[in-house]
Amino acid sequence: MIKKINILGTPTQDKLNLFVPMGIFFIILGFLDVILNAHFKINLTSFLPIWLNYFAPLIFGFLGLHYIRIEFSGIKILDNLNKNINSNGFNALLTLLILFVLIQNIPPLLNWLFFDADFIGTSKEECSREGACWIFVNVWLKRFIYGLYPNAEIWRINLSFLLLIGFIIAGFLVPVKAKKYIIIFLLFVFPFIAMNLISGGNFGLEWVETAAWGGLSLTFIISIFALLFCFPIGMFLALGRRSSAPIIRYSSIGFIEFWRGVPLITVLFMASVMFPMFLPDGTYMDKLVRVIIAITLFEAAYMAEVIRGGLQALPRGQYDAGKSLGMGYWRMHLLVILPQALKLVIPGVANTFLALVKDTPLILVVGLLELVGMIDMAKSNPDWLGFATEGYIFAGVVFWIICFNMSRYSQRLERRYKTDR
């Protein structure tokens, strides 16, 4: 009887009833060892030599997974399990390693993040310091979003962004004919209304200098303005790079390659310390405006390459058709080429915008404080020393939510525009 059961042999379907319980027993033993070890400081296998003791859960788990690796067992769950995480010894080992690492690290992490953390309060003394101190984020939240913008005037930023969201929603709801006007209004009129509303200085609004702008709202302001202006510039550069006129082509290539070859940080340095030297004596340009111009030109070069990709993807026949209809250069591009090319590059444009949003924290090096900069400021406040981790995690989550959704959206666009080609 004993001879028939080959313990280390390949488990087969006919001995299902023996191998499956045995495998499950070993797997449970392995996991139990890890859990007890990690969270209850109990070592089941302390009698083993130290090197074996360390690997005991892995060995148990490996044996267990080996026993339940039965082909065509007829049990649906078991078959799925074997196919997906337990197809061979190497895979089984990796599966176990990942699960063990997760078991060891997730509960302490959750404890720190939520269960031991303090959420409600107004001062650092109310934090138990056993877990994260979210009071820090709570207290500074207004600063993280609005920067040093005066509290009494914050409604102006809120109103601007609410108006923007409102108009975008209106753009989706109104009939197609009116859509055009809303888009034109949003692109060419609204930015200036919003800028005026936020900076103030007229219509009875108090002037708020740009040094006080900051936080997450500054991230959005810079991103939106840069995107708005870099798109047309990038379009002209892309057309210029494909132009047959050598001077236009080479100056476009030079411009694009210059901006693509240097890091944004040096561009920002240029905008903040070098550019004022190039302006006529006595003129002053606001630092934020300089930075927005710099970021715009920087992103325009990337945008140009994206749009060029779309232009290149169009078959020659489209150009020939446009020309044979007697269209000139501009009419052909505006009516035939660009509408098709731009549709192709929507995902690329979304990716460029994503990169732009991720690049904005860099303005910190020239002294403009958006979200990351504000956290930098908050964590060096003498009353709130030692909460850098909480701040960075908060900023990370905020940026992650924004960027993740944008990248998902761009992937969806990509899929949508792929089908009709």
């Binding site: 895979n91 240097v262 890091p263 990248s407």
Partner: protein, 398 residues
């Protein structure tokens, strides 16, 4: 009437004369560029005259009189600005090389894991990519530097790696290599590389002529191990290590002395750059592997090649062709992103040169131009190198 006629005549002349229609926009562009450059130069001149600064690169040889906390070459305050620039440049290249090395390894592992048949592994790889790709690099850098590395123990309770390396909040201390006759060792490695190139050329020719394969990998492995080893035995090269030792500075302050120190800024920067860039490289690798059609593998298998040969001779050359161009872009991005070092005070070219040196000399135009030109040169150098390699492995159509 007269006026109308001339206008018509002018447009006609303009429409018919295609040469002028071609040249006019170009001339206008040229004029615009020349005007813009002239205008900026004029303004800069006026501004500099008013402030009493003259344009020039004389500062290059002057004494820098500031210290740099981490340098690959000998440097102190008495050296020139030119030397300080070189220190910064070398530090930038150092962190870029370290970052590229780890990002490539990690990227390949993650990219392959992403395609694993193991559900857990591919999910873990996917979430790694989604998390690290969608958080701004600066934020990750700050997290590693201000949160993660600051949580390391003090030198007294440093994390001990086999009693030779110690990781503490002050940085990573590793044994220092002390060479004698180091140049001979380097020459032997150069000689080994040259002879390997010869072996490969010979092997290729032999295969083209006779069809027999030479075990070129084993031969080159032998050469690269044996030649430097010989220099130890007969060339008079020797290597010893200086280990870091914990020393009591005062009653409560301990620190390590001796050995080589890797500053935390470098560790944070290298970690952030490689973890961030690895996500992009992983996507390139995945796209490359998916890009090789199944038929290729099956065809190779039906020719009787082994699994290893299929991977090495059929799949990899084709996958590399897809992987390399976007990966080059990522290497370039990593090099440019290494300029974020300035935010955590790692002494790279931006911090040393566009930061400290500019504060001291006040020469904004010269210094920012030099810094930008340096990055442009680095970018162009990497892209030329990679284009050359790319061309080499591209499909050679008849």
């Amino acid at each position: 009437m007269n006026i109308k006629n001339t206008t018509k005549g002018f447009t006609d002349f303009f429409k018919d004369n295609s040469k002028i229609r071609n040249y006019l926009p170009q001339i206008l562009t040229l004029l615009f560029i020349v005007f813009l450059i002239g205008y900026f130069t004029y303004n800069a001149q006026v501004n500099m005259d008013n402030r009493g600064i003259d344009f020039g690169f004389h500062f290059w040889g002057q004494e820098a009189s500031f210290d740099i906390q981490f340098s690959l070459i000998e440097y102190d305050g008495s050296h020139s600005y030119g030397r300080a620039y070189l220190v910064g440049l070398l530090n930038t290249i150092l962190v870029a090389v370290i970052g590229i090395f780890f990002a490539t390894i990690l990227g390949i592992i993650i990219g392959v894991s992403r395609l694993s048949s193991n559900y857990l592994i591919s999910r873990v790889a996917e979430w790694y990519i989604e998390i690290f790709r969608n958080i701004p690099l600066l934020l990750q850098l700050f997290f590693w530097y201000f949160a993660a590395l600051r949580a390391l123990p003090l030198p007294k309770e440093a994390i001990n790696f086999f009693d030779v390396s110690f990781l503490s909040v002050k940085g990573l201390y590793i044994p220092k290599f002390i060479w004698t006759n180091f140049d001979i060792f380097i020459y032997s490695i150069i000689a080994a590389i040259i002879s390997i190139i010869f072996v490969y050329n010979y092997a290729r020719k032999k295969q083209e002529q006779t069809g027999t394969q030479t075990p070129k990998f084993l031969i080159s492995l032998g050469i690269i191990i044996v030649l430097p080893l010989l220099t130890f035995l007969i060339g008079g090269v020797s290597l010893s290590f200086e280990y870091p030792i914990l020393k009591q500075m005062s009653e409560t302050i301990f620190n390590y002395v001796g050995g080589a120190k890797i500053i935390p800024e470098l560790m944070a920067l290298a970690a952030a750059l490689s973890l961030y860039t690895a996500t992009f490289i992983a996507e390139c690798v995945r796209a490359g592997i998916l890009g090789v059609s199944k038929g290729q593998k099956e065809a190779a298998g039906s020719l009787g090649l082994t699994t290893g040969q299929i991977l090495r001779l059929v799949v990899m050359p084709q996958a590399l062709r897809i992987i390399i161009p976007p990966t080059t872009n990522q290497y370039l991005n990593l090099t440019k992103n290494s300029s974020l070092a300035a935010a955590i005070a790692y002494p790279d070219i931006v911090l040393v040169f566009a930061g400290t040196a500019m504060m001291q000399t006040g020469r904004a135009i010269e210094i920012v131009s030099i810094t930008m030109a340096t990055y442009l040169t680095l970018s162009i150098a990497i892209s030329i190198l990679m284009n050359w390699y790319n061309k080499k492995i591209a499909i050679k159509e008849k």
